[in-house]
């Protein structure tokens, strides 16, 4: 083959090594304004008042925008449209966007944001999955604190455990983590010569951004252009909307180019996080070293908004077995709302959390069997024709045994 399998030099590298690659903060226009949002400092409650009139009088302030001034939809979301672009009254997490301030220079923006005073009526929030599942817990979600509940059942779990020579049962916990890409979010909006509103942003999905910007401006999608600049890392955190709609609304109202630029702090506060998970695992193995049963209960703290919570917990459930044949399974995974920062997409998307449990269980059982942990994995791993826990037959390209063989070859381990 001429090009596939060949180490072509990536075409975008020259800009990147010379400092010429353009990230959103590198874009400037004549007469450009700066915009930023005041974010909620409480996790749950009602906004009673904001000193908007005072802010309007501050030096350099051109516009103060609240939710009533958004021409279209006032919220966004990859599946459910539940994340406020600007809050109407209820805040559900620290970092919810309250008002958008537009100024004619960076310094005035910083100053104006500092002067915003918000009065809240604070509610008792929920901050753990256990509390959120209590009967009398405040309801953070849409009618329930359970965003998603999926079960995977195959074979007969009780019979499966009866076949087991060894059983191990443990609780595993994974933490909340942050994408920490190096380029903080930024967006620049302006009107193009043809009258469309153009947003320069570093995004994982420009067409989705176009849809959300058009929705909040109440215009058709062909009146919006998203220009995807060079992207300074993403890892999932650039899937939800962040500065896009704010920049677009500010330009729509001011008719001028507007830049929104996050500090690192704002970046960390604003975007999604990796779901922290609690994973109860009970795994059984037969005397021949074959996995025979798995019972797993997985709880993901999905925070205040849905984002990709359903999909993340589904992915956790589907991958709960690890790459192994287990004929009898009883898996349940729940995504649970709390007033924590919202969880969403991050590299591996639910399938990154569960192997802490499944792969630790593998080592524990291998030790009980007195078998090399790599060999134990090898004899249980999928091959072409295997069924996964969801009953899916793997028909092609099942390279797990080859991967393990390669490791064994390097480590000189007999499988």
């Amino acid at each position: 083959m001429q090009a596939v399998g060949v180490n072509y030099t990536r075409p975008d590298v020259y800009g990147k090594i010379s400092g010429k690659a353009v990230y959103p903060d590198d874009i400037e226009f004549e007469g450009m304004l700066y915009a930023g949002v005041k974010r909620s400092t409480i996790a749950y409650g009602k906004v009673l008042s904001i000193n908007i009139d005072e802010i309007k009088q501050l030096p350099g302030v051109e516009y103060v925008i609240d939710y009533t001034m958004i021409p279209g939809a006032i919220s966004h979301g990859v599946i459910f449209k539940d994340i406020p672009i600007l809050v109407k009254d209820i805040v559900k997490r620290i970092g919810d966007c309250l008002i958008l301030i537009v100024t004619n220079d960076k310094e005035s923006l910083k100053n104006a944001l500092k002067q915003v005073k918000v009065e809240y009526e604070e509610y008792e929030g929920v901050f753990t999955v256990d509390d959120a599942l209590k009967e009398d817990a405040p309801i953070i979600g849409d009618g329930s604190n359970i965003l998603y509940d999926i079960k995977i059942k195959a074979g007969n779990i009780d019979e499966g455990f009866k076949e087991a020579l060894h059983i191990t049962e443990n609780l595993y916990c994974s933490q909340m983590t942050e994408h920490a890409f190096l380029q903080p979010e930024a967006a620049v909006a302006c009107y193009d010569d043809d009258g469309t509103l153009k947003v320069y942003v570093a995004t994982q999905y420009p067409h989705y951004d176009r849809e959300e910007v058009a929705r909040c401006l109440n215009v058709s999608e062909d009146k919006v252009k998203i220009i995807n600049t060079t992207i300074g890392g993403a890892f999932g955190a650039r899937e939800d909307i962040n500065p896009q709609c704010h920049a677009a609304i500010a330009t729509y109202i001011s008719k001028k180019p507007v830049k929104v630029l996050y500090t690192r702090e704002e970046s960390i506060i604003s975007h999604s996080k990796r779901h922290p998970m609690k994973m109860h695992y009970k795994t059984g193995v037969t005397k021949d070293g074959k996995l025979c049963a798995l019972k797993a209960r997985i709880y993901g703290d999905t925070g205040a908004y849905a984002s990709w919570g359903m999909n993340v917990l589904r992915k956790a459930a589907v991958h709960a077995t690890g790459p192994y044949v287990i004929p009898n399974v009883d898996i349940q995974a729940l995504a649970v709302y709390t007033n924590n920062p919202y969880s969403g997409a991050m590299r591996g998307f639910g399938a990154t959390q569960v192997p802490l449990a499944s792969e630790s269980q593998m080592d524990i059982l291998a030790e009980k069997l007195n078998m090399h942990p790599l060999k134990f994995r090898y004899i249980n791993s999928f091959e072409v024709g295997s069924n996964t826990a969801t009953g899916q037959k793997l028909v092609s390209s099942v390279g797990i045994k080859k991967c393990i063989e390669k490791i064994a070859e390097i480590a000189e381990i007999k499988l």
Binding site: N7, T9, R10, D12, V13, Y14, G15, K16, I17, S18, G19, K20, A21, V22, Y23, D25, D26, E28, H179, A180, F181, L182, Q183, P184, T230, I231, G232, G233, A234, F235, T263, R264
Partner: protein, 160 residues
């Protein structure tokens, strides 16, 4: 407002500035050299690294006023027209670049390191770039790139 003069990539720039203006803002907003990046604003990530009087500094931590009279190299000053610096060539060759946001700072830290110690060992290289965070590459290929750059520079010096 105070007047400062900085020599950036061999050119003199005189500007009247707010005494609190950071060096990174001077470079990006006053001189419009956008290759220097801001990742954290508090001296932790190294994306804003420039070379000042031969030593690397985090330009987010330096006031432009305190750099008055200094000689500064940014990423734009590294290549000579279309002619890339050996470090840049090496980074391309080994595939050391992914999103690219850390790369200007990483290249300048590498340059300062190799200017001082062209024979830096692997441990010294890792130390030398440890102030530059990269979330994409896992550093292995960057370190490989630095080693290739060392060879390239040594070879070119022998050729002289």
């Amino acid at each position: 407002m105070i007047e400062v003069t900085l020599k950036i990539n061999g050119k003199m720039y005189t500007r009247k500035i707010n005494p609190m203006l950071r060096l990174i803002d001077f470079i990006r907003d006053e001189i419009k050299l956008k290759g220097t990046k801001e990742g954290c604003g508090e001296g932790e990530c190294g994306a804003c690294t420039v070379i000042m009087n031969g030593k690397t500094v985090n330009s987010c931590l330096v006031l432009a006023a305190s750099a008055n009279g200094a000689e500064i190299t940014t990423i734009e000053g590294l290549s000579n027209g279309d002619h890339l610096h050996p470090i840049q060539e090496a980074f391309i060759e080994v595939g050391a670049v992914q999103c690219g946001y850390c790369i200007p700072g990483m290249i300048l830290s590498t340059k300062a390191l190799l200017d001082e110690n062209l024979d830096a060992t692997e441990a010294q290289i890792k130390e030398g770039i440890s102030g530059n965070l990269c979330r994409c590459t896992g550093y292995t290929k960057i370190v490989e790139g630095v080693k290739i750059a060392q060879k390239k520079i040594i070879n070119s010096q022998e050729g002289d």
